[in-house]
Amino acid sequence: MMTESQRALSGTRLIDLTDARAIYGAKLLSDLGADTVRPIPPEGDPLANRGPIDKQSGESLWYAFHTTSRRLFHMSNSSKSRRQLQSLCEHANVIVLNDGHPFESFLDLANVRDSNPGLVIVECTSFGNTGPWKDYLAPDLVAGALGGSVAITGDEDTPPLKPFGDVNFAVSGAYVAVAALAALRHSRQTGKGQLVRVSVHECIASCLEHVFMWYLYNDVFRHAKGKALERRGSLHWSNLYQVMQAKNGHIMVTPTPSLDNQLVWLIEENAFEDLLDPEYQEPNARGRWARRMMEVLRSWVATKDVESLFYEAQEHHAPFGWVHDIPQVADNPQLAGRDWWSSLEVSGNSVKSTGSPYSHSDTPAEAGGIEHLSAESEGIIDAIGWGN
């Protein structure tokens, strides 16, 4: 059931008409306390069967994660059901939706906006509302391919790779939440709602770190081979971070922010090889020296126990990262030390789950449970307290 504690968005009424492209944003808003209603079409939620699946109950764990803190409003094909949805929208503060949602054929958002002038509508589309690709189909892999994240992930001897999970849609989801809250603030101040459009394609392109920099400022990067950097495994665009093989595991080796401090550490370990050679003191030799540093590090790391190296690096203020698999993350001492994990109810069973991605001191976010509403029930608006 919904938690009763005061949360940041308590009192904000949200209608969630999202699919996979924006549902993460609806989750963020809901877990922050928005009173969220997600209408479910008569044939069922199109997202409800996505894996992973709980083996005990057959329920979708993907769906359980993404639909926390919500009232699921089960629609029928009746006119009463449709009127109730229309009315819910008229009483909402925010509607987040994707184009092609199951209620497009009868939900009259123009009328809703007329009767609810403070309403914020955030519409998330794959490519925007105009242009030759506006009707293109783009699940996460295709969105990442066209958006630019796939081309820079993978290695020379692999195909371009999609980052694991719904990584691309998590970006558009986060932007949807940002857009909704910014427009909500404006609406609170002026009484004027608005339509806000978010393009998944632009969202992905806006989060590519070096890609546009590489093109636009190519003359600055003396080691650049072209205006587009190839996929090259874990080697960072700066050439200074890379996952390396230790004796018994892998570790992301990041000798910055101070290569000189890394050199001192290698000297302490008598593993500096030729890094003190005078040739590297010559003007313009810094790049060569840094590349040689990475080679020396590869040899040195291969002799080290991965766990010890990770902690030694942190003692040296070097941001090395031990490559953890899922069970290792689940046992992570920092997450345990912050009492971070939470739990979700899946088919009546409590399952350990991820915690909130932020901690508010006074209005903590919390993934609440699901409440089921029938659209055939009388007086939904009053029943859920939206008539006040």
């Binding site: 295709v142 990442g144 806000v196 920099m213 587009a228 093989q245 490559v323």
Partner: protein
């Protein structure tokens, strides 16, 4: 008017995660005052493309926080801020006398955001991290790869962007809460926890079913669908290093598979009953990938994408930076990359990628160049603290405003 007009942000962030948060807020109209200094140069220095990309639309003040006068000014600015934000390791602002308790005692409405790598408290609280560190520790590096490899991971600092976006969500939600309570609050963001949360369904699967996950390339890890991958094509490549051209194809259901078959001319192999269902295609996905690759290898990726999309098959060219800049009709139409009108004093032409949010009534299409060290000292101190220009110039000469 932009939607965050009137929101004041005092910005101690550096590198990417923090600046990306404040960039989003600045794009939407917040008055973001970024604190730099000559003595904290390195990557936070307001020079070069990297800084330029993440710090448009902000103003800069130079404060040498080693000096008492600078710390006093910073504290006074914090008292007039709606939001104070940093992404240092834990404890830096406290050492400057600007911890949450110090500031909130006098500014009850302040929203005070600390977005460190590991968050406040816990045995790793003081660990230093970059996005690749976070990727490694969170499982993102492990899971993004191909079977047998655990050294690939994401090819860019994805989590820096996500931490920035989540911080923006947190800030805006606290602003909304303040509308009702009149009170600010502290927000503690662990960039590590942001990343782990993004793998939420995978962890639910681990805890509910006891199953980890191995890297699986472009396969869907949990849904039995196919084909779902990247396939080599012919045609010119913009990337002159690898010189390859690829297309991604993702059939989510049988009707999309049938459409793909039709586009291929219904070859005999595709009529094999093992490919008739999603489950069958998934079970035989390596053979399917080989068959598809044999078909795509002589085809132009752009033409193929158009044909497949017209038939209702999700497909997209794997676009690199040159493609995005020069060929992508959507980004070109939206003027996604813009040359900033005012030249930068040292860099000349600089550029902005547009905020991917289009507001109907509060458009956010103003992009101003990043500022040089202390360039806005006079204006900021006049606007926020009412300090006169002569005093500011004196402070610059004395060194604490540098």
């Amino acid at each position: 008017m932009r939607p965050l007009q009137g929101v004041r942000v005092l910005d101690f962030t550096h590198v990417l995660a923090g600046p990306f948060c404040t960039r989003v807020l600045a794009d939407m109209g917040a008055d973001v005052v970024k604190v730099n200094s000559e003595t904290r140069a390195q990557i936070n220095a307001p020079i070069g493309p990297y800084f330029t990309l993440w710090n448009r639309n902000k103003r800069t003040i130079a404060l040498d926080m080693a000096q008492d006068e600078a710390r006093k000014i910073a504290f006074d600015l914090a008292l007039r801020a709606d939001v104070v934000i940093d992404n240092f390791s834990m404890g830096v602002l406290e050492r400057w006398g600007m911890g949450y308790v110090d500031v909130s005692n006098q500014n009850k409405s302040v929203i005070y955001v600390q977005m460190s790598g590991m968050g406040s408290g816990g045995p790793w609280s003081n660990f230093v991290t970059y996005a690749p560190t976070i990727h490694a520790l969170s499982g993102l590096t492990y899971t993004t790869g191909v079977p047998g490899r655990r050294d690939i991971g994401l090819g860019y600092s994805y989590n820096d962007h996500q931490a920035g976006l989540h911080a923006a969500v947190a800030v805006l939600s606290a602003i909304e809460a303040r509308e009702h309570t009149g009170k600010g609050q502290r927000i503690d963001i662990s960039q590590f926890e942001v990343a782990v949360n993004l793998l939420g369904p995978t962890f639910l699967n681990y805890f509910a079913n006891g199953e980890g996950i191995e890297p699986c390339g472009n396969d869907q890890p949990y849904d039995e669908i196919g084909p779902h991958g990247c396939y080599r094509c012919a045609g010119p490549a913009s990337n002159d290093v690898l010189g390859e051209r690829w297309i991604a194809i993702a059939c989510l259901n049988d009707s999309q598979w049938e459409a793909l078959r039709a586009c291929m001319g219904n070859p005999e192999w595709s009529r094999d009953e093992v490919f008739a269902t999603s489950g069958g295609r998934y079970q035989n996905r390596r053979e399917l990938d080989e068959r598809l690759s044999a078909w795509t290898k002589d085809l132009d990726a752009w033409e193929l994408m158009q044909m497949l999309q017209a038939a209702g098959v999700p497909a997209g060219v794997v676009q690199d930076g040159v493609d995005l800049m020069e060929l992508d009709p959507q980004l070109i139409e939206k003027k996604f990359i813009r040359r900033i009108e005012e030249p930068h004093p040292t860099m000349g032409s600089t550029y902005a990628d547009k905020l991917p949010i289009d507001f109907e009534h509060t458009p956010c299409d103003l992009y101003e160049r990043s500022r040089t060290l202390g360039e806005d000292n006079v204006q900021i101190l006049a606007d926020w603290l009412g300090v006169d220009q002569k005093s500011v110039i004196q402070g610059e000469e004395d060194g604490y405003l540098r």
